[in-house]
């Protein structure tokens, strides 16, 4: 899996900020996916998330000469935190509805999340139905057919609904999901906004970050500092 950071170096001219939220029942692997995507790590014994975690990661979209920066809100799946979730998908540009391919019930719950998103989330949100734990292929309960069947039933709604399967453990397909989402996002619209110079028309967050794209890459600086620290004797 190619590190997304490398590609960023080539295309630093334009950075588009998008908010992404992860939904799903507890223990489907939301946090694992995020960590695989952001840090390229996997923890077998990850503790359940409290509230909602915040992480960022960028994805290059070379054909449009743009870098998509995801602000990821990784929500907790536990019932207790259900009331927190609407707050995060309300302003989101994309949502990952994660289920566990070894558990049909969790797939049903993911469908519920999609329904809820369709009702409550802002229009134009990119939804991706993600089947996690692909490494447990032998225990698979939710087949590809079921997913495609469901997606077909959704046809005609204004939201873009993608579907994907991945394994946070092995890392298979994780990056692919984010790449696909990045391409499904309304990048052209964002480009036009910049071109028109009409900042602050659509969403505050996007304009805010749009202005800053040309600035210093603090993240990289930090990384260099860390390397420096690592190489020094103390």
């Amino acid at each position: 899996m190619a590190s997304p950071q490398k590609s960023m170096n080539s295309q630093t001219s334009r950075l588009a900020l998008f908010k992404l939220v992860l939904l799903g029942e507890s223990a489907v692997g939301k946090s694992s996916i995020v960590h695989r995507f952001v840090k390229n790590t996997f923890d077998d014994m990850r503790e359940s998330t409290i509230g909602a975690a915040f992480l960022t990661q960028t994805v290059d979209v070379p054909e449009k000469e743009i870098t998509v920066k995801f602000e990821i809100w990784d929500t907790a799946g536990q019932e207790r935190y259900k009331s927190l979730v609407p707050m995060y998908y309300r302003g989101a540009n994309a949502a990952l509805c994660v289920y566990d391919i070894t558990n049909e019930q969790l797939f049903e719950r993911a469908k519920d999340w999609i329904n809820e998103l369709k009702k409550q989330a802002p229009e134009g949100i990119v939804i991706c139905l993600v089947g996690n734990k692909l490494d447990l292929e032998q225990d698979r309960k939710v087949t590809q057919d079921q997913v495609t069947e469901y997606l077909e039933s959704l046809d005609g709604s204004e939201n873009i609904v993608l579907s994907a399967e991945c394994s946070a453990k092995s890392g298979d397909g994780v990056l692919d999901i984010f790449n696909r989402i990045a391409r499904a996002l309304p990048l052209d619209q964002r480009i036009q906004e910049w071109a028109g110079g009409a900042a602050g028309t659509r969403s505050r967050s996007s304009t805010y970050s749009g202005r800053r794209t040309g600035g210093v890459d603090l993240g990289r600086g930090d990384r260099q500092l860390r390397l420096l620290l690592l190489s020094s004797c103390c």
Binding site: L17, K19, I50, G51, A52, A53, F54, T56, K69, E71, W73, R80, Y81, S83, L84, P86, M87, Y88, R90, G91, Q120, P122, R204, S205, Y208, S209, R212, G215, L218, G219, G221, D222
Partner: protein
């Protein structure tokens, strides 16, 4: 008896003496002239009985003490005391029975000099004779104005009795009322017709006829002065036990009252003696304590010196020695105890405590605190008369004494280290020394026994408070429930909540008692052994709490079950309402505060809202931390959305708090 003049007191002593000290009397009788055969009232009972039962001996000299035998059964006696006792025990009844057929007794008159003839303590029957038999009863009184030196009046009745008995051994029956058919009991209000069954009894004194019931009284009587007069009371030995009526018996009690018993209040004396003894003990304790302080000072000082010397010796030579020093220490020790108290070896042969004789093995030892010579129990066979006490043991127990400078400076060192400084101390001094410590120890022990129960009392206090509240709210709850109107739904819910909380607290307290005082033995709840002393108290408290809890829980459950049916419907309603509000909020994206007509919150709603509020607060905390982190890491581009989220969270929190209103935390 405060008014007792010395004379009177002497009188009394005289009166009592014949019976108190028969031996002395006998000696006196021996001393008296044998020819004097006037019976003396003060003479010993034995001699009298002798005379009565064996008239043949009447003129004989009384035998020496060695040949004492019972006049009735001829049993030989060791002492007169024993004989007296023997006659009282064995021949009391036979005495009475035998008395009547006895021939008249001629008594000897004895001149008895109780203490000293010169002083005129002689007792003579003549005095009684002179007074005449009419005065006999009066003679029972203590004639206070009688010549104290001469005659005690009490003997006179005896003399009179004997006089009359001589003429008539039986009580006179001249005055007896003769029974007639239909005669009734003479007691007022009895009215029983006398018959063989009811009894036809003449009172031996007044001679009237009575029934059996009213003559169940016995007094000692003797004949009156002349044959026609009624018998009179005789409280002394030679009175004849006779059956009398109730009236006469009561009369007799009066006569007894006249003879004032000798009462001496010794409480004051006792107290005085006791106080003095206590004071002596206290004094002794103080003395011992002072000596102990001095001794400790001396020993510690010596110890320090010895150490110094040792180091010197090790430095210089092994010359010199401790023996030059040893006597001086002893000298000083004697000085502390005092030369007077220091017992001399040559004069003492036995241990002052266990009295064991000293010999080669059992050596003499001086107690360094009291100076007495005691044995040393090396093998623990005898009780511990003395031991070598390490002073740190005592110092540990007597921390507050006013020790000298040396001891004070070394105090901690002495306490903490194994102490080589010892001295000989006897068990008495040890007890004196540790008396106060033992007292305090005892006090502590007493305190501890109640200490164990302190948690019980505290819990009980709490239980009582909670009980009050539960009863109050239970009543209110019932009342509201019976009214059962939609308007007080809020209140009833409130009351129910509170009741639930109190009941839970109560249960908790009850469980606390269970846990701290009971243990499980074979699946049964058993009081822990350490609390057995207060078994009843604990059991009652615990049982009471359990019963109360059971009663109220059942009641509460019944009521709240009924209530929940009612609220279920309300819940549905409000749920819909709530959902609407939520929907409005979400669709608007920037939720407006909830309308002023606050939705009536059901318990479930409140719980949910509270949960939400908690989650929000948690999240706010998380986000704030995240913001801090990003600032630290200088990722300012991420700061924006975090801050945005934070404001959103705060907004939501405010909304929730508003919604919860009075139900908030």
């Amino acid at each position: 008896m405060s008014t007792n003049s010395p004379e009177l007191r002497r009188n009394k002593r005289v009166l009592g003496s014949p019976f108190k000290s028969p031996v002395k009397n006998l000696a006196n009788i021996d001393a008296a002239s044998p020819s004097n055969d006037v019976p003396h009232n003060n003479s010993n009972v034995t001699s009298i009985r002798n005379d009565i039962d064996h008239p043949s001996v009447k003129n004989k000299e009384i035998k020496p003490i060695l040949e004492i035998f019972c006049p009735i059964c001829k049993e030989s006696m060791i002492s007169l005391n024993q004989l007296n006792q023997h006659i009282d025990d064995e021949h009391q009844k036979t005495d009475e029975q035998n008395l009547s057929p006895e021939p008249p007794v001629v008594r000897r008159e004895l001149q008895i000099d109780l203490l000293n003839g010169d002083k005129g303590f002689s007792l003579s029957i003549d005095e009684g004779r002179k007074n005449g038999n009419e005065n006999i009863r009066a003679g029972l009184k203590l004639s206070r104005d009688a010549n104290p030196l001469k005659v005690s009046p009490s003997p006179s009745p005896g003399a009179g009795a004997r006089g009359s008995l001589r003429s008539n051994e039986r009580l006179s029956r001249n005055h007896w009322q003769t029974p007639a058919s239909g005669s009734k009991c003479s007691i007022e209000g009895c009215n029983k017709t006398l018959s063989v069954k009811q009894g036809i009894v003449n009172c031996r004194r007044c001679g009237k006829l009575f029934c059996n019931v009213h003559t169940n009284f016995k007094v000692r009587l003797r004949n009156g002065p002349d044959s026609n007069s009624i018998p009179i009371f005789e409280s002394l030995k030679y009175g004849i036990w006779s059956r009398v009526c109730r009236n006469c018996y009561n009369d007799k009690l009066d006569s007894i009252k006249i003879v004032e018993p000798k009462v001496e209040d010794l409480t004051g004396t006792f107290k005085r003696i006791r106080m003095k003894k206590n004071e002596d003990k206290e004094l002794m304790r103080n003395k011992i304590k002072k000596r102990f302080i001095k001794l400790v000072e001396l020993l510690v000082d010596e110890d320090v010196k010895k150490k110094q010397r040792k180091s010197q010796i090790s430095k210089w030579n092994l010359f010199g020695g401790s023996d030059t020093n040893e006597p001086t220490v002893l000298e000083q020790a004697i000085e502390i105890v005092g030369h007077d108290n220091w017992m001399e070896d040559s004069k003492t042969h036995n241990c002052t405590i266990c009295y064991i004789h000293f010999n080669m093995i059992t050596r003499k030892h001086h107690c360094r605190l009291c100076g007495s010579i005691v044995c040393d129990d090396l093998f623990g066979e005898r009780k511990l008369c003395s031991i070598m006490v390490p002073i740190n043991q005592l110092l540990d127990k007597l921390k507050n004494l006013n020790y000298g400078a040396n001891a004070r400076s070394q105090f901690l060192f002495l306490l903490l280290n194994e102490c080589s400084i010892r001295f000989r101390c006897c068990i008495n001094c040890k007890n004196h020394l540790l008396y106060e410590w033992k007292q305090s120890q005892q006090a502590k022990l007493d305190l501890n026994s109640t200490d164990k129960l302190v948690p019980l009392f505290e819990t009980n206090k709490l239980l009582i408070i909670l009980k009050d509240q539960i009863v109050r709210y239970m009543n209110r709850f019932e009342y509201l429930f019976q009214k059962n109107e939609a308007t007080n739904g809020d209140e009833i819910e409130q009351v129910r909540e509170k009741l639930l909380v109190y009941l839970k607290d109560y249960e908790g307290c009850s469980n606390q008692i269970k846990q701290s005082f009971y243990g499980r033995v074979n699946n049964a709840l058993k009081l822990r052994p350490e609390f057995v002393d207060n078994e009843r108290l604990i059991n009652n408290v615990y049982r009471g709490s359990v019963f109360f809890l059971q009663d109220n829980l059942v009641k509460f459950k019944l009521l709240s079950d009924k209530l929940s049916e009612l609220t279920q419907m309300e819940l549905e309603d409000s749920k819909n309402h709530f959902a609407q509000i939520e929907g409005v909020q979400i669709s608007k994206n920037s939720p407006t505060p909830i309308g002023t007509p606050e939705p009536r919150l059901t318990k479930k709603q409140i719980r949910e809202l509270r949960e939400q509020l908690m989650v929000m607060n948690e999240q706010r905390f998380l986000v704030e931390n995240l913001i801090d982190d990003t600032i630290k890491q200088r990722k300012f581009d991420e700061l924006g959305s975090l801050k945005e989220n934070k404001t959103e969270l705060i907004k939501r929190i405010n909304e929730l708090e508003k919604e919860l209103g009075e139900f908030g935390f």
